[in-house]
Symmetry: C2
Subunit: 151 residues, 2 copies
């Protein structure tokens, strides 16, 4: 296979997609479990975006898994363009959600009256997981963009 | 000229660069004048990033202006790569700064004790200007990226 590593249908892409899904689910769990996240707009934004990233990454991980273990699907330029644009948009939204969460947590930590025990460290972990998910999503998008002109 | 409109050395690129510089300067003015912005990390981050975007955009606007009104400079792939990567990084940092500022302003508005008269609307305007600057920076980056394979 003279493929770009990381493009749709390769094992590197499968690893990237699984990483995105795992980090997004971790971010959702840190944010949602036992915490009233809906009192701040940025936390609701993070939950919404991560709720979009998880099904997107899992679907593409299924496609990659099928492609790696069974037969290689034909790559049509239209489908690849949709995947590149989707990855792109989701990566920007993930970055926006991560930055919003991180900065709001910073403000909450500095004004100590808002921040109960363990809550703010969980917000921080959630923001960190979202940053990692953003990074992997950007990598997927760049690899697929690299492949696009050769189709 | 069979150029990509918006790539380095065209009049569209000159317009994009001037727009970036104007919006960044407006964002800096809204944030810095008469406001103690250094009490919040995200506001300091915004000022730092906008302080990087302004000289970068003005320098490239000078190059574009020279190219439009006098003679066209040779486009070397190495120089173009540096410009694309620089635009890319600055556009991500601008988006991060805009999101941080917007979300911190939202928290400050909801906890009314922090927000004195007119301060929060100026923070909001600053975030909006940064979003516009991000958008133009992303457009420049995409146009130059489009040109890169043909060099």
């Amino acid at each position: 296979m003279d493929d770009v590593p990381g493009a749709l249908g390769t094992s590197a892409s499968l690893a990237l997609r699984l990483g995105q899904a795992i980090f997004s689910i971790a971010s959702l769990l840190f944010m949602c479990l036992d915490i009233d996240f809906y009192s701040y707009t940025s936390f609701c934004f993070l939950v919404t975006i991560m709720g979009l990233v998880v099904p997107w990454s899992l679907t593409l991980a299924l496609v990659d898994g099928y492609s790696v273990f069974f037969k290689r699907p034909s790559r049509q330029p239209g489908v690849m363009s949709v995947i590149v644009v989707g990855d792109w948009v989701l990566s920007f939204l993930s970055l926006a959600a991560a930055c919003s969460t991180a900065s709001v947590t910073d403000v909450l930590i500095n004004s100590t009256s808002f921040c109960h025990s363990r809550m703010c460290s969980r917000y921080q972990l959630s923001a960190a997981m979202t940053f990692l998910s953003w990074f992997l999503s950007l990598a997927s998008s760049l690899f697929n963009l690299w492949l696009l002109p050769s189709l």
